[in-house]
Symmetry: C2
């Protein structure tokens, strides 16, 4: 994509309303525009990152056996009256009346609707296990929305729901999502640590938050150093092997890890001082087993192998892709801007023409742009007439993994300079070697 034709409205000034670094950088890098309280438009570069994050989430959900559906944003109040939540849910639920004065709401979550889908079709344990997910906009009418897409009112959520005959199956379903989340966050370039979360009246120990460590994180977290080196299962992990998956979950839940709310001083004291990591983190996923909480009041049951009817045992599994984009920036930036992990970078590289309009520079850049594109690279080509300093600042701000810098002196010598955005390392290589270098590595 040529920058001269790309809608990338860079802001020079720090927007005053942005209180945290991800919000500031997303506005400055032209990824987002605020449309109202807690409401944002995703501009082309933001949309591209969001799509990449969603694609990874989808692949890992599918790999773990979940199936994608798409439920509507607007729900009927009737469903929520069945579960009892219509009256229980506070003012965060956006309540709406249609022209016939029927009560509706903008879904803040979908347990009721997916349970309704399940009970409409599934009759036998033979059709289980079943896990249905969707990626859809949600609305929660926060009193004071802030922090950009980290806590917006309208936000994208991947929510999966598992259905099993009984607790044993539900625990296996929970474990599959647990492993799927480990893989998802690693693939977007993040280190995530699962931390036990409150199970409230449901009880048991099947509730975990996945936390990304980031110096600018919203809350204090405490964990054993072992987590920093633990290896996430590969793409060949066998989700059909319940015992194997359970072992992975056990490995990842044995060392101490807790958010501030769940912190246990006594258990923490038992960790050797040299193994203690007290840091800050951002919640990016939450998985939760809630058994018959919805299946019972809503009558979602199947016939078991015993010929009797059983209320299904359920769990829900959420990731906020819009929030995750912001969390990645919180965890990966410096004073000059964003540093995208390769897997979610909006483009693979910036090609910087230091002297657009100069015939030799233009020719060298056009050739590189064509060669890199042919080698399968997604290039943002800065062909604008901005001065070099401005171009470098923009490239650092938007944080593509690589910068390929072409100026008159380099062209005369047949060379380009390559800069790694993360390390800052620079290297000079022949123009003719650039495409092979990157076409190979990507």
């Amino acid at each position: 994509m040529r920058l001269s034709r790309y809608f990338l409205p860079i802001l020079k000034e720090n927007p005053r309303e942005a209180e945290i670094v991800s919000h500031r950088l997303m506005l400055r890098a032209g990824m987002l525009r605020q449309q109202g309280a807690g409401s944002f438009s995703w501009l082309p570069m933001g949309k591209k990152v969001l799509d990449k994050v969603c694609a990874i989430i989808r692949e890992e959900q599918d790999r773990a056996g979940a199936q994608e559906i798409l439920m509507p944003t607007i729900q009927s109040a009737e469903l929520w009256r069945e579960s009892g939540r219509y009256d229980d849910y506070g003012k965060e639920m956006l309540r709406i009346q249609d022209r016939h004065e029927r009560d509706m709401l903008y879904g803040p979550t979908n347990e009721e609707m997916v349970t309704d889908i399940f009970r409409s079709y599934v009759r036998s344990y033979k059709d289980l296990p079943l896990n249905l997910y969707h990626i859809q906009w949600k609305f929660r009418d926060e009193v004071r929305p802030r922090f950009g897409v980290m806590r917006s009112r309208e936000f994208l959520m991947k929510d999966a729901y598992s259905f099993d005959l009984a607790y044993e199956g539900a625990r296996a379903a929970y474990n599959r999502m647990f492993v799927s989340y480990l893989r998802t966050f690693e693939r977007v370039g993040m280190k995530s640590i699962p931390m036990r979360a409150d199970t409230g009246p449901i009880g048991g120990d099947l509730s975990h938050e996945f936390i990304i460590l980031a110096e600018t994180g919203e809350s204090a977290v405490f964990c054993h150093r072992d987590f920093l080196d633990m290896k996430v299962p590969g793409a060949d992990v066998d989700y059909a092997d319940d015992a194997g998956i359970a072992r992975i979950v056990k490995d990842w839940t044995t060392p101490y890890a807790a958010t501030e709310e769940m912190h246990d001083d006594k258990a923490w004291d038992a960790v050797a001082d040299g193994d203690k990591v007290a840091a800050r983190g951002i919640e990016v996923g939450h998985i939760f087993h809630f058994g018959e909480k919805y299946s019972k009041p809503m009558g979602a049951k199947v016939t078991g192998p015993d010929g009797k009817e059983h209320f299904v045992s359920m769990g829900s599994y959420g990731i906020g892709p819009s929030r995750l984009v912001a969390a990645i920036i919180e965890a990966s930036h410096d004073e000059n801007g964003i540093i995208w992990p390769e897997a979610v970078a909006p483009f693979d590289m910036a090609l910087i023409n230091m002297k657009a309009g100069d015939a030799e520079c233009d020719r060298a850049c056009d050739e590189l742009y064509a060669a890199l594109s042919a080698a399968g690279c997604d290039v943002l080509y800065d062909d604008t007439d901005q001065r070099p300093g401005g171009k470098f600042a923009t490239a650092d701000l938007i944080g593509l993994p690589w910068q390929i810098i072409v100026g008159p002196r380099g062209v005369a010598a047949g060379e380009a300079e390559i800069k790694n955005r993360k390390t800052g390392e620079r290297e000079t290589i022949p123009l003719s070697a650039v495409a092979a270098r990157f076409g190979k590595s990507l």
Copy 2:
């Protein structure tokens, strides 16, 4: 995908509420579930088709130079007061108040918001032309929603908006979308005919509806026979060539074509009787130039080459992907079910094991499934214990382009039967030749 693990809730009976064939078939084939008045969940097979349709729309929008963004579903009433539409829009607009009693609405369309984005960033004619689109859920509170996703209240829409310095540029932008629409509908397997639509107070001739011919279509349409053989531009069409694009538009707007509302008896009489096609059709796209209708009241202007400020000239371009899925079914089905065009089929083929549980049949099917998948085919493998008659009925109903039928006698002879869903043609070929046959053709 193994059917035994796929959430595909086939209905044996025709649902009474479904008045048209696409609605009936989408419910029966387990693509959709109705959640309320004019509100639907897309089940896995429906979601897959919707994704394929959206992917084609995206590719053709991008090719024509449009850039994808994503605006929120909930909009502030303030914006719509600026354009004057907040009060003008009838009860179809879903009006909402948040917890602070601020007036909001569920966007039925996005002219105001995209104009707001434009005016926030763009100052100079040098940044034009610009065309921004998104694919997002819309809500229109119809009095009596019906016909499934053909006229639902919550529906998906691709809406693009073009911004140009003046009418000439706006017309070129309009022409690019015109050609992009021709290509889009052809790529989803449909014959579309652009028909002039009412421009109302805007005037001029830049408004066209794109109509798909279908015997069960909602409205009568009239066109010259020439349209049936006209060639849609290829992927190499040069969108940078305004004159060339204008010639294509001229070719496609010269022969007579009109919906019932715009039908002109006199012009129709001038068409030779043998060239008259009176048929039924479904509107699947609408493009519209509206000039300064929003840019003027909302102050969206740029500095021109003359140094003066100009209100930008705009157009909007809509396709309803959810509606388009239904329209494809209306245009392509028979008494046994859906007949998917290859480009949007949820799977490439059904692999039918006529005797699941029989060791030889299972082995042959497992091998075919592996070989076809390795050859890049997306296969729905019916490994269930249903009887062959039921399997054939399901395969016809869900309408995948090919059926590969494996039974005990065939396996003994080393053969599979292949059925083309559209033509009904059957052929027997060696089991060992199946993967090569389809791996090659796809």
